[in-house]
């Protein structure tokens, strides 16, 4: 079995299972248009910094934090898609259930947030196992569209179950004292809870990386994805490993729900809202690439926060007011996706042949 793969036509070292490796861009020559683009971007960035240094730092830090939140939300989805080949549309619903379970544990049962932080991902993980055993195990070899439809149905069921259990009104969870205030970072103030989310996100990425790339368990899972029959022939219990990977993916969704629900509260639409963004992150990063999801999340985070400022700077410098497009930040995830797919149809670090 191999843990690292071949060089694709795009010059990316590609692991056919879960690519966490860095891209190999050493031999790639850059066109003059690309160089010009980079120069223009750097010039605008420097101009923006000079014109509004406080706001520039605010937006860079804000984009980084937002990017890591996106990474956490997309990670579980990426694992399930990359390893099991299932387009899990119920991921957003699992994320939402995580938030509501946090409310149940913290507000209704009176336990601390820290208890919820541990228990909720486990509960959502168990829910993921039930979903995997009851539905998804039967469709692994089917057309991905069937998995998408099945998980979409599951998402609707989870949504209605949540409404029946906790009602349709928005709920909130008190932020723990230690994480409730703001934190001064350089020249800006960032909510401590958001920084805590970043730390959790980074730790989760590292743990997932180590699990998949540096353990026998991860190796056997990747082997199973490459060739299930061969892996089973040499004694690997692939079913159990797939169940555990689904548990991991669902747990990360639950973890995201705990953090997001505590930060801004919860409602029945929160899952739908983020599932789209999570898919955008995965598509931009390249389906099947965890490393791509991390890079993509951060890229989109910075694009969302910095683009309005950069366009405003351009508008001022060029005296063309139309360049400062109102509401451009909200469009950036989709614009980034369009541009990346035009240049690299499989995403930044996508694998040739995966789900094609």
């Amino acid at each position: 079995m191999r843990s690292s793969g071949a060089v694709t036509r795009q010059g990316v070292i590609c692991d056919p299972t879960m690519n966490m490796s860095l891209p190999n861009t050493g031999n790639r020559s850059h066109s003059s248009a690309e160089r010009a683009g980079v120069v223009v971007l750097l010039t605008v960035l420097v101009n923006a910094f000079v014109m509004k240094p406080g706001l520039f730092v605010d937006q860079v830090v804000g984009g980084l934090v937002y990017g890591f939140i996106l990474v956490l939300l997309a990670l579980g989805l990426s694992i399930i898609l990359g390893l099991l080949g299932v387009v899990n549309f119920a991921h957003g619903a699992l994320f939402m259930v995580g938030a509501y379970l946090t409310h149940q544990i913290v507000v209704q049962w009176g336990f601390s947030f820290w208890v919820a932080l541990i228990v909720v991902p486990l509960l959502v993980g168990v829910l993921g196992i039930i979903i995997e055993r009851a539905v998804l195990q039967f469709i692994y070899d089917e057309n991905p569209l069937i998995g998408l439809l099945a998980t979409f149905g599951l998402a609707l069921m989870l949504n209605e179950a949540t409404r029946a259990t906790w009602g349709g009104s928005p709920l909130s969870v008190p932020t723990p004292e230690a994480l409730s205030a703001g934190f001064t970072l350089f020249t800006t103030t960032v909510a401590r809870f958001r920084l805590f989310t970043v730390v959790v996100s980074v730790l989760t990425v590292v743990v997932v990386y180590l699990l998949i790339e540096r353990t026998d368990f991860g190796l056997s899972v990747r082997a199973g994805v490459l060739d299930r029959e061969m892996a089973e022939l040499v004694g690997v219990n692939i079913h159990r490993r797939f169940v555990l990977m689904f548990f991991l993916g669902a747990s990360i969704a639950g973890l995201g729900g705990v953090l997001r629900g505590t930060e801004v509260g919860m409602d029945l639409a929160m899952g739908d809202q983020f599932i789209i963004l999570a898919f955008v992150v995965i598509v931009v990063g390249g389906i099947g690439s965890l490393f791509g999801s991390v890079v993509s999340g951060l890229l989109i985070g910075e694009a969302v926060f910095l683009t309005p400022l950069l366009l405003e700077t351009l508008a001022i410098r060029t005296n063309i007011e139309a360049l400062a497009i109102p509401g451009i930040g909200g469009l950036m995830p989709y614009l980034v996706m369009i541009v990346v797919l035009l240049v690299r149809p499989r995403g930044l670090f996508g694998q040739e042949g995966f789900l094609e």
Binding site: P170, P326, G327
Partner: protein
């Protein structure tokens, strides 16, 4: 008359389809209330509300308000009223499909509801064009302006009414304002009238940002506010997004530094965030709040019926059904032409006036319910009431509708 004919044609098609289907299924139970003249014994009313989507928490309040009105009207007029609920999803297209089904298949007599202005425009225009009376709950100026329709009425105070009510208080509390507004019809028209109102009252708008709706993060816009010369911020952000923006402002500590105005404020938004967040509301123009001095029994009935705290949408839904049914009873008809004729220039004389206070009437030129607008602010935490329902805000000012409503010429509505 043309509109009525179209409606009748649609109904006939719907009834014919239903009859065909039921006969095919071996069932002959074809019913539904008619729309002809004569004594009304039963009514079927479409209640349009967002039971899913970004306004989902608002949906149940529309139902609860309608149920309370139905109870009162049934008792008063000895009439049978059936409420049929339709989920608008805050999606104009989905809501329109449901309105078409309600009229052609379910044979509703008239309809009310819809929270988002885009949804109200979509279903209200179609209903009106097809001879169905409809009362909207959106607050965009366009509903009683460029998008007004012959049989569509607007129960919620318009953006202009709320902006004009809040303008003097806003200018008094701060000179430099930053405006964050949701980038859709309600937010766009709202920021225009807020800017105009601030300028007229001597204040300045130092910056403004259009924000996506629904949005998932407002930090980038809040950073813009923090790095501007503003000493106050106006949030024209509806629904749960307002809660998110408020939460993220608090995380940056801006709620202590800036004067904060929530446009078209509704208590529900901040109940979920807690009392500290509620205290950040310095100026909140609203259509109705449970702090309005009025019928206490209504507020208690909302709690009993809806197991929730009373707020603006309960009142708006109650008023909508109350007014449509009374108009139909006066006209002895559910025909849209007859209801419209009864509502135009009608001054309210029903339990609604006890709940809202002041004088309210349906203006004929744009079909806007001209009624008082209230400016609320957050109470100190020690003064906030939790039982028998949450009352965390106090009414600072109530302004008569006639003082703040646009002139008929300024609406752009041609009825």
């Amino acid at each position: 008359m043309r509109a009525t004919s179209r409606r009748k044609m649609l109904k006939r098609i719907g009834v014919a389809s239903s009859a065909g289907m039921t006969l095919l299924a071996g069932c002959s139970n074809i019913g539904g209330s008619g729309d002809g003249d004569g004594e009304l014994e039963s009514l079927t009313v479409g209640v349009f509300a967002p039971y899913t989507g970004p306004f989902a928490p608002w949906g149940q309040s529309v139902t609860t308000g309608s149920i309370l009105a139905k109870q009162d009207l049934t008792k008063e007029f000895d009439i049978s009223i059936e409420l049929k609920e339709y989920d608008t999803e805050t999606d104009p297209s989905a809501a329109l499909d449901r309105m078409k089904r309600a009229v052609t298949s379910d044979d509703i007599d008239f309809a009310h509801g819809g929270i988002s202005s885009a949804v109200c425009t979509s279903i209200g225009t179609w209903a009106s064009n097809n001879g169905v009376s409809y009362i909207a709950q959106g607050a965009s100026d366009s509903l009683s302006g460029s998008d007004c329709a012959q049989h569509m009425f607007n129960v919620y105070q318009s953006n202009t009414m709320m902006a004009q009510s809040a303008g003097p208080s806003m200018a008094e509390q701060a000179d430099n304002w930053y405006v964050l507004y949701s980038d859709y019809v309600w937010g766009n028209t709202g920021q225009e009238v807020i800017t105009k109102s601030l300028n007229e009252n001597g204040a300045t708008v130092v910056g403004k940002d259009a924000t996506p709706f629904p949005g998932d993060d407002y930090t980038q816009y809040i950073n813009n506010v923090a790095n501007s010369d503003a000493d106050a911020v106006a949030l024209l952000i509806p629904g749960l997004d307002a809660r998110l923006a408020a939460e993220q402002m608090m995380s940056k500590g801006l709620h202590e530094e800036l004067t904060v105005m929530f446009h078209q404020f509704e208590d529900l938004v901040l109940w979920g965030l807690g009392k500290e967040a509620a205290m950040m509301v310095d100026i909140g123009p609203t259509g109705w709040a449970n702090a309005v001095d009025g019928d206490e029994e209504f507020k208690q009935r909302v709690v009993d019926e809806g197991e929730t705290n009373p707020f603006a949408r309960h009142f708006m839904a109650y008023t909508s059904l109350d007014q449509q049914v009374r108009a139909a009873m006066r006209a002895s008809s559910t025909d849209a032409e007859a209801i419209t004729a009864e509502l135009e220039d009608h001054e309210l004389q029903s339990p609604v006036t006890d709940i809202q206070g002041g004088t309210s009437y349906w203006r004929a030129c744009d079909h806007q319910l001209v009624q008082p607008t209230h400016i609320v602010s957050g109470l100190a935490e020690s003064e906030m009431q939790d039982e028998p329902y949450k009352q965390w805000f106090t009414v600072d000012t109530s302004v008569a509708g006639d003082e703040v409503v646009r002139s008929c010429d300024a609406t752009g509505c041609d009825l």
